[in-house]
Symmetry: C2
Subunit: 387 residues, 2 copies
Amino acid sequence: MSTIKSLTVLGSTGSIGRSTLDVVRANPEKFTVTALAAGRNIGLLKEQIEEFNPSYVSTLTTEDALALESEFKGRVKAGAGADGAVTAASIDGVDMVVSAITGAAGLMPTMAAIEAGKDIALANKESMVVAGSIIMDAASAAGVSILPVDSEHSALFQSLSGHRVADVRRVILTASGGPFFNAKDIDLDYVTPEQALNHPRWSMGKKVTIDSATLINKGLEVIEARWLFGFPAEKISVSIHPQSIVHSMVEYIDGSIISQMGTADMRGPIAYALGYPERLADSVAPLGLDGLSLEFFAPDTKRFPCLTLAYSALRVGGTGPAVLNAADEVAVEEFLGGNIRFTDIYRVIDSVLSGAIVREAATIEDVLDADNEARGKAREVIRTLRK
Amino acid sequence: MSTIKSLTVLGSTGSIGRSTLDVVRANPEKFTVTALAAGRNIGLLKEQIEEFNPSYVSTLTTEDALALESEFKGRVKAGAGADGAVTAASIDGVDMVVSAITGAAGLMPTMAAIEAGKDIALANKESMVVAGSIIMDAASAAGVSILPVDSEHSALFQSLSGHRVADVRRVILTASGGPFFNAKDIDLDYVTPEQALNHPRWSMGKKVTIDSATLINKGLEVIEARWLFGFPAEKISVSIHPQSIVHSMVEYIDGSIISQMGTADMRGPIAYALGYPERLADSVAPLGLDGLSLEFFAPDTKRFPCLTLAYSALRVGGTGPAVLNAADEVAVEEFLGGNIRFTDIYRVIDSVLSGAIVREAATIEDVLDADNEARGKAREVIRTLRK
């Protein structure tokens, strides 16, 4: 690759966004940053503007955008909110958009980027969960590539590469098991947000860390894998692998398993997506094999029933996954706010999902309506729990 | 693949040969057997003739060949010795030759098969060790594919497929460690052939089982990998993996490792080579992941110095690997015969290799001369040991 790839980073001040900019910093001859979209962390965004010189930035509020435009007069244009993120995602001259805004909020800018013909490095798994078929159809129509940034999906992508899809028996997503996998004596009814945020292997954002603790994160990844790779639910399984070294595996019909492993560091899958089809040297520290022990266990779906809910939502289809995702987002926020118990996250999602009228997910409006409705329902359920 | 692949199996009554015929038996719509070459196990060869109906067979002795021709009159033609094996390897109508005669004796028929334009499923690693560059040049000139049957090289082949060779940092051959890896209190000076033949993971022929116990087998595989995949010695490393589940790995420049794993069963890599580019369903039993623990250790080259000798032979180049291999074949035979100690195997190879005049390996004659000379030297060394 002799040409420089121009990037938009959506969610630049979040965990994935910062790691993305680490990769850019390490490979200045390969990448340039044209646009950044952030939220409220304006201090960090200013540093990123100084270092990477984007021509456009987007913030959550209009006040922040105006203040940045005046501070970086003549250097940076700024927008705000959903419109700002969409502008950053579809701006001229960008080759690839790193979609790393957490939650359903990442959906519209991801769609805008696809429609503008940008390749996508997709960290925002919620887009795929709520609108997988719509996104894949749009990407196919626009002729753009979607490269997974989740370590698991990057591992599947790498383990499928060079092999016949017809020969796949199943894909196996690995899961660390989260902070409570080995703490079998802990009563999950009484764990605090601090305990749940203490992930043993990965340093990630809060939402995804809680989702790892409930295992629904793995369920969302099952749904994401369904759309990214086109395998039905029964060909996607989950294995608990506490060391987080094997990032996922593909089992073929002959009994062979191809896997991708490496040091647990998000810069690995980010660099793979950014550099594809080339690999970028030293994206993560080399894996020391000597003395390594890699273990695998079946998931405990009795203790972590959210995983089963995700499979149910995938089997129901239509707006089912959007409902699952919306209920989870609300429930996690309320758990982090200290308003509901850890185990209530399951109760909220289960209640919303089983009461939902699932519709066809033909348009973005369909899924956004379902999302909205599910959030309302989730808040209602939470009110009954708090009484 | 709608057409049937026609096979010659060289070494049909050995361990790999029998497993090859298991694969053929399980996939009668995909393969037919045109020729078989065996040694002295005429009883089993007769059964194989009955079941697979080859039109040509080869045996070690002319008496056996004549007896078979008269017993299977009109059904089977038979030849004997090196000529018979070469005829079986180059017979008309055969698409692929499974080269599974143990030792340097496999070299001439493998070359004959290549020159006759047959694809090769290569289990005879000694051919590659003694004449790797000659074989690869001949294969390239004849436009034939060489598909590895060793589980390690099959794993490397599968882990390289779909990825850029320029991105490879190193390949990592896994080794079970053999029967003495965990028996650190055993004095290797006093182990018996029976102890050394008791391999913990793989059921294989005697020669390769002893070679596994000394670790020289892994050294021969390092040399084989050098020629099959074109990587220099410093890009080929070895990791002890006692479970024999991960069959080998490729580390890429970004820090990613792609590996192939599966149940330890030679029918896996055999079926992969025979079916390539398709996989054959259920070649090995599915790997049960739940409860699995995979460990990796650095090789103990102090206790198992034969591995280091193989790297030396590879670095010396030319006829060095042929000398290494010949000295090992003689030493293993004498160890199995109770004439030298287990640790003498190293002493014999080291002494022959360090005293050898290494020449260019430009022709098959060059390597056969070196092989011959090294065998003579090995017997001399053994005579001094036995005094």
